[in-house]
């Protein structure tokens, strides 16, 4: 069995060269198509973790600037700066991989997600400030983010906004 701690990874900006060179399959056609079309989207910064020994893409993620709208008195809206993690997906071969052989070992997915949050800290501290991370979790990933420390917007958000988010769950994290 392979463990995450044995991998040698490189974090790279997703480029046309990488897309041409590597296939990416996370088991979700929509995300796979986002990967192959990512060069068409100028509103996101896209990255990949590459397994340098096997020459495989391990994970693909995408970041974008965002803001959380907060209703204030007299119909004013306060915008709270945030960074959105718009995509985070692991390739099928790496899903569920533990970091070490210990029975209680954390998963590779958690480590990579921490690396992403660490990158968000770099960005918000050095280049452009923001105090929150937002994401729209697919239902199956809800507990993963909850355990990480994300909070669910559902109890504090205006109800009618949820119709636009039908099958995903808006969550936020305080940096």
């Amino acid at each position: 069995m392979q463990y995450g701690s044995d991998l040698s990874l490189s974090l790279e900006n997703l480029s046309k060269k990488i897309i041409d060179q590597y296939e990416f399959n996370c088991g979700n056609e929509y995300i796979n198509s986002c990967y192959s079309k990512s060069m068409d989207n100028i509103e996101t910064a896209d990255f990949v973790f590459i397994d340098t020994n096997k020459n495989d893409i391990v994970a693909y993620f995408s970041l974008t600037c965002s803001a959380i709208m907060v209703e204030m008195e007299k119909s004013a809206i306060n915008l709270v700066p945030a960074v959105e993690i718009s995509i985070f997906a692991l390739a099928v071969d790496y899903q569920g991989m533990p970091m070490t052989d210990k029975r209680t070992s954390s998963k590779l997915s958690k480590f990579l997600f921490e690396m992403i949050i660490n990158r968000v800290y770099d960005f918000t501290e050095e280049y452009c400030g923001a105090g929150r991370v937002v994401l729209y979790s697919v239902p199956k990933a809800y507990n993963f983010y909850k355990k990480f420390g994300f909070s669910d917007f559902s109890s504090i958000m205006r109800g009618d906004a949820s119709t636009a988010l039908k099958d995903c769950i808006p969550m936020y994290y305080i940096l």
Partner: protein
């Protein structure tokens, strides 16, 4: 959607459907939400980065 929430950590960790419609926090919860900045998580909470960060070479900074 609620039933799916109870199923636990999935093997397939992903976020689908990037969404630009945004979330509006209700006025009656505004203070509660805005005051959360006093409960920052902080970079120090990223224990695995410290422990395993050496397996990643960041090539995005080699420009």
């Amino acid at each position: 959607m609620c039933n799916e929430k109870e199923k636990g950590v999935p093997n397939m960790t992903l976020l689908a459907k990037p969404c630009r419609s945004g979330v509006i926090v209700r006025e009656d919860k505004a203070d509660e939400f805005l005051n959360l900045k006093n409960m920052k998580n902080g970079r120090k909470s990223l224990h695995m980065v410290k422990k395993f960060g050496h397996i990643v070479t960041d090539k995005t900074k080699e420009k």
